[in-house]
Structures are given as C-alpha cells and as structure tokens.
C-alpha cells in the first residue's frame, strides 16, 4: 500500500534565514492518525504552514509527496483540492463574507479543480445544515460573517464543520483544543472521530496530552527543534505528560 503522505528530509526557513524545520522525516499511511507533540517553539505550527503552502517560508531541502504528487509544487488552493486540510489554531475572522457563502465557494472551487459537478445552493445549504446540527452550529452562525464575533469554541466548531464538508484525505489539526472547554472539546473531537476512515489520515499537533484522550492516535511522535526525535505508540503521550519534554530536548541538542 502506498503511503498517503511522505515527508523526506524536509528543511524550511522563515524569511530572514532562520531555520525552523530541520531534516524532518515522516510517513503516514491511509487511515492512520499520527500525533505530533512537542514544546512551544519546536516548529509544529511552522510544519503545518509549510505543508499547506503559507507564503513566507522557504523550503531549503527535501520533498513532500502527497497522494502521488509533489505537494510543495502546488499553491495552497491546489493542495486543498488535492485533499489537504489544515485546521487552524487561530481561525481568522473575515468581515463581510458570510459563512455560508464562504463554504459554498470553498466546496465548489475544489470540485471545479477536480473536474467534479459543482453543488447547487440548495444542495450545499442542506448539507451544511445537517453537519452543523451535529456540531451545534445554528442557522444564525451560518449567516454571520466567517468567525466574526465567534467564541474560541465556536471558531473551532466552525473549523470542524469545514473539515467535515470538504472531506479531505488528510487533516492537519494544529492545537485543535486550544481555547476549548471540555464540552466544546468533546463536540470537536466527535466531529473529527466521525471522519476517521480507512482512506483518511490525520496529523494531530498538540503540546498537551488531553486532546489525545479524545482523538486517540495510532502513532505518537516527539517533535523538537524542527524534527521528529522520538516515535512511539499512544502510550507515549501519557509518558510525556508525566516526564515532560526535557529528555528529548537534550537528545536533540
């Protein structure tokens, strides 16, 4: 079976030449959920941005193969259409663009790029409402401008809604639990778990173990100074909770 995603010796810098990703290797097979844990400043968010194509980073080495194509050659929208989804740690507010219009444009842009039939407005609205119900997102939130005036929990539920609607092959969740109380965390992780399937993989980025009680990973990686320094099973998350990252930090140095 071909891996869904292969990161090979990836190196990346931010503008100004500071190296953040430092020889990263990772292979994820279809259906697997991997967790990346690491201290603040380790480069976890940078990894998610580099994968999704955010401007401002320079790839200085290595490659990323995703579903058979070289991901790094694609623009962010092409990566999304190829099936990559980044669940933002801090979803942005977009004044003046209604949530529903945003979802409609996103879905149909992807469909168009893949040569699929675009959804009509009624089809889209029905689908969004159904998914919204499972996440506690009401009609009013769908009419409002994207994320404007949403609480932290509402923003994360909105991210989850987008993910469920867009049905990506690969989801990168960056600190999906930040800003969430326990109830919101349950709603979001139920949504994420509902998406688990033999074809779909996930990369769950977190520096707390708590999230992994709800989204249980198959593999846990310890990430430090821009690369994976240790890999284990789901029990590694609990270990890290008890011992911290100190031992891996020295290992990396």
């Amino acid at each position: 079976m071909a891996p869904l995603l292969e990161i090979k010796d990836l190196h990346a810098e931010i503008a100004g030449g500071r190296k953040i990703i430092n020889g990263m290797n990772l292979t994820i097979n279809p259906g697997e959920v991997h967790a990346i844990m690491g201290p603040n400043g380790a480069g976890k968010s940078t990894l998610s941005y580099v994968l999704s194509g955010k401007p401002g980073y320079e790839i200085t080495g290595g490659e990323v193969i995703f579903r058979g194509v070289n991901l790094l050659d694609l623009s962010p929208d092409e990566r999304a259409a190829q099936g990559l989804f980044l669940c933002f740690q801090y979803p942005l507010e977009i004044p003046g663009v209604s949530n529903m219009a945003f979802l409609h444009t996103a879905v149909n842009s992807q469909r168009k790029k893949r040569g699929e039939v675009e959804l009509t407005s009624p089809e889209l609205v029905r689908k969004v409402r159904e998914l919204g119900k499972t996440l506690g997102i009401d009609a009013d939130m769908l009419k409002r401008p994207v994320n404007v005036g949403f609480s932290g929990g509402e923003k994360k539920r909105n991210e989850t809604l987008q993910m469920m609607l867009l049905e990506p092959y690969f989801c990168v969740l960056d600190e999906a639990d930040s800003g969430l109380d326990i109830d919101a965390l349950k709603v979001v992780s139920n949504g994420v778990n509902a998406l688990r399937s033999p074809e779909r993989s996930m990369l769950v980025i977190t520096h707390y173990q708590r999230l992994l009680d709800y989204i249980v990973p198959d593999v846990v990686h310890v990430f430090n100074a821009g690369r994976i320094v240790h890999t284990g099973g789901k029990e590694l998350a609990l270990e890290l909770e008890a011992t911290g990252y100190a031992q891996y930090q020295s290992e990396a140095a």
């Binding site: 999704s52 194509g53 955010k54 401007p55 623009s75 962010p76 929208d77 990566r79 999304a80 259409a81 989804f85 980044l86 933002f88 979803p91 942005l92 977009i94 004044p95 003046g96 663009v97 219009a101 945003f102 444009t105 996103a106 879905v107 842009s109 992807q110 790029k113 401008p145 987008q162 867009l166």
Partner: protein, 447 residues
C-alpha cells in the same frame, strides 16, 4: 521704474478656457430659456471666466487639476440623430431588468421616444429641462440655481451652458414605489462635450428613488459636465444611486446640490468604475431639523483612472444626522481622492455627523488621498471622521486559499466584502444586487 503690483495675478487663459468662451459666445443665443435664464447664464459664465478651470490652488480641487487634465474643450454635441438614438437603446443595462421608469438623455439631449413616460403615477410630473427652462412658470424658474449656493467654477460652467436634462416633480404626500432611472449616454464617435442639468423636487411627505447612470464609448475623449439640483421637502424620503461607467478616455464632472427639509430622509450613493477623470461633488444643505442623511460611495479604479469625490455637508439646523461611508478599490496606477467637509452651524445643536473613508490598494502604484475637514460652531454635537488606507490582508487570503479558493477568487471575495459595507446600505434590493454583480464583473475583468 516702480509700478504698483497688481492685486490679482490672473494667469493667461488656457486653450480650453478660450475655447469655452468662444463656445459660449457662439451658442448663448440658441440655448434654452427666456431672458431670466439668459441672465443667469451670463452671470454664471462671468463667474467661470473670472475663476478659470479649477487648478491646484483652488482648495476643493487641490488634487484634481482640471487645467492640466482638461487640455482642450470639446465642441458641443449635436442633437442626437436616428443613428445616435439607435445606439442608445441598450444603455443603462445594469438596471434594465428591474422595471424602473427610464428617462434617456443622449449626447446631452432628452429623448422622449426612448423614455418611458406612460402611466405616470398620480403626483409625478416629468419634463425635459430644455422645455422647462422655456416655461416662465416652470419648476426651474422657482428652483434652478436657488437650492444651494456655490461659487464652484465647474458648476458655473454648467449653468452657463446647460442644454437639457430631466425635471421631475413629486407632489406632496405622493409615494412613488417605482424608481426613476435617468440614463445619460454618450454615443458620439468623435470627442464632444455635453452640459446637462436636471432638477428634482420631492415635496413634503413624498418619496422617490432615483437611479442615475452615465456611460459612453471607450477610447473617445468626450467631456461630460452634469449637474443635479434637488429639493427634498419636510418629512420626504429620497434615495439616489449614481453609477458612472463612462468610457476609458472620458472626463466626467458631476455636481449635486441638495437642500433637505425637516424630518426628511436623504440618501445618495456613488458607484464609479468608468472614466479617465471623474469628479463627483455633492453639496448637501440640511435646512430643516432632524434630517437623516446617508452618503455612500464605491470607486473601483484601474489603469490611470483618477476619481475625486468632494462632499460638503452643511448642518444648518438642529438634530441632524449625517453618515458618510466611502470605499475605494485601486488597481494599476489609479488614484482616488476623497474630500469630505462637515460644517455644523451654531444653530445645529445635537448634530451627529460621522464620516469614514477607506481605500484598498491592490498595487504599489495606486494612490489614495483623504482630506477630511470639520468646521464646527455648535457645542453640543457629535462629529467623527476616520480614514484608512490598506492592502488586502494576506493572512485572510491564505486562510481562504487553504480552503481551496484560488488566489483571484479569494481576492474577489475580500474586495466584495470591502465594498459590500456600502452597497448593503442601499434600500432598493434590485439596485444592491445589480451593484454587487457590477463589482463582481469588475473584479473578474481585472488583469
């Protein structure tokens, strides 16, 4: 040898100024109107001749130096022939499906056979300006040049040379649900000039929605000087949207003089995408108390387009509320100027005036310029203004792209949202939709 310094140094007249003087001398006898109108024209032309075309040292024209931008004055457009009228049939297409009452002015002349004058609602009277000027008991005799006083040279030139236009009267208490659309179209194939003047009187308690569109051919350096005088009676409601989609080489100079009575509602929105040089000046006089006035504007400019909006809001009576909300989206090496003056007279206590203008620069060569001005003589007032100039938010653009939306579409969404704040404030559904579509069309046409 000492000689006394002249008090005023009058610069040599430009070619355009000389040509305008020649034109006025040649046509004055044949312009519409009786002796009173002729006297008005002569006085106005003297005002113009004294001042000349506005230039940098005229404060309100500081950023639009017409002396430099209008090198010559084009000949007056001839009366439209059958061919010119045939070309005007499709004009005003932006609103053509909305069933508005279309009144069409071709090359500066009102054309009844292209206009919808049937089944006028009770209380509505419509006439051509040329006919109305010739009628000593007509509406212009009572109102023209008497709404808001202004020494502006471009307005004076309009008064001197006004040929035709539309006069609309709405009787007291008459509510007109069907909007009236004034379609101004230039169909000439050579550069011509048209001076149009319109007058709208909405009597006490009446209501009217007016759309005005101005368009013409690309690649021809025609000149439009158009003016509208408006009187809104006590408790009346008036809404206007003016769309300027003139051809690529046109110079479009527009003046609106509006006098608004007590408890009235006034709304005016400019939507500008076309023309090489566009000037929209609006002088609003809040004559009665408790007026609510809204002024909006959207300029979508590209290439070397230059658009200048000049507002002067005169709060002359207590408890008036004025809101100004302007947006400019600037591509290429275009320039947008916004000058907003709010004056609050001593009598105008409890005035609440707010002005906001925002520009979005899509390139490094585009320019925006904001000049707010407050002149407040009353003490119990709220007055605020703000202006911002910025670029598209790259973080938000990335967020949209990360959801699969291509760069150009992401930009279009953000720009539509930016101007949507103004368009959404328009009362008529159909107009809002048409302007949103026009915005989208402009965005898709961007290089």
């Amino acid at each position: 040898m000492a000689s006394p310094a002249p008090a005023i140094v009058r610069p040599t007249k430009t070619g355009a100024e000389l040509a305008l003087a020649e034109t006025f001398a040649a046509v004055r006898a044949s312009l519409p109107g009786g002796p009173d109108v002729a006297a008005q024209r002569t006085a106005a032309f003297d005002t113009f001749a004294d001042a000349g075309l506005p230039h940098r040292r005229v404060e309100s024209w500081k950023y639009t130096d017409l002396r430099a931008l209008m090198r010559d004055a084009k000949p007056l457009a001839p009366l439209p022939d059958a061919d010119a009228k045939a070309k005007a049939v499709a004009a005003g297409s932006l609103f053509s499906t909305l069933g508005f009452r279309r009144l069409v002015v071709v090359n500066g002349t009102f054309v009844p056979e292209l206009s919808d004058l049937s089944d006028l609602e009770p209380g509505v009277t419509i006439a051509s300006m040329a006919d109305a000027l010739a009628d000593p008991a007509g509406l212009p005799a009572s109102y023209l040049g008497r709404t808001v006083a202004s020494p502006d040279a471009v307005l004076a030139l309009n008064t001197a040379l006004m040929g035709d236009g539309v006069v609309v009267h709405v009787a007291a208490g008459a509510s007109i649900p069907r909007p009236v659309e004034l379609v101004f179209v230039t169909t000439a194939e050579t550069p011509v000039a048209a001076f149009t003047r319109s007058l709208v009187v909405v009597e006490d308690g009446a209501s009217l929605s007016l759309v005005e569109s101005h368009e013409g051919p690309a690649g021809i350096a025609y000149q439009v000087n158009t003016a509208l005088e408006l009187v809104v009676g006590a408790g009346a409601t008036f809404e206007r949207v003016k769309v300027t989609t003139e051809g690529s080489d046109a110079v479009h100079l527009a003046t609106m003089l509006a006098k608004v009575g007590a408890d009235a509602r006034f709304s005016n929105t400019f939507f500008t995408t076309g023309g090489a040089v566009v000037r929209n000046q609006l002088l609003l006089h809040l004559a009665g108390e408790n007026v609510k006035a809204h002024m909006g504007g959207v300029s979508l400019l590209a290439g070397k387009q230059h658009a200048d909006t000049m507002l002067s809001v005169d709060h002359a009576a207590p408890a008036g509320e004025s809101r100004e909300s302007f947006r400019a989206v600037l591509d290429g090496a275009s320039q947008d100027i916004f000058q907003g003056k709010i004056a609050v007279r001593q009598a105008a206590q409890k005035t609440d005036a707010r002005m906001l203008s925002r520009a979005l620069l899509l390139t490094e060569t585009a320019e925006s310029c904001n000049k707010p001005e407050l002149e407040i003589f009353a003490d119990d007032v709220q007055c605020g203004h703000g202006c911002t100039t910025g670029t598209l938010d790259q973080q938000i653009k990335f967020y949209l792209m990360a959801r699969g939306i291509p760069a150009k579409e992401a930009e279009a969404l953000l720009i539509q949202a930016f101007v949507g704040e103004v368009i959404d404030a328009i009362g008529e559904d159909g107009i809002r939709t048409a302007l949103a579509e026009a915005t989208r069309a402009w965005l898709l046409g961007r290089e």
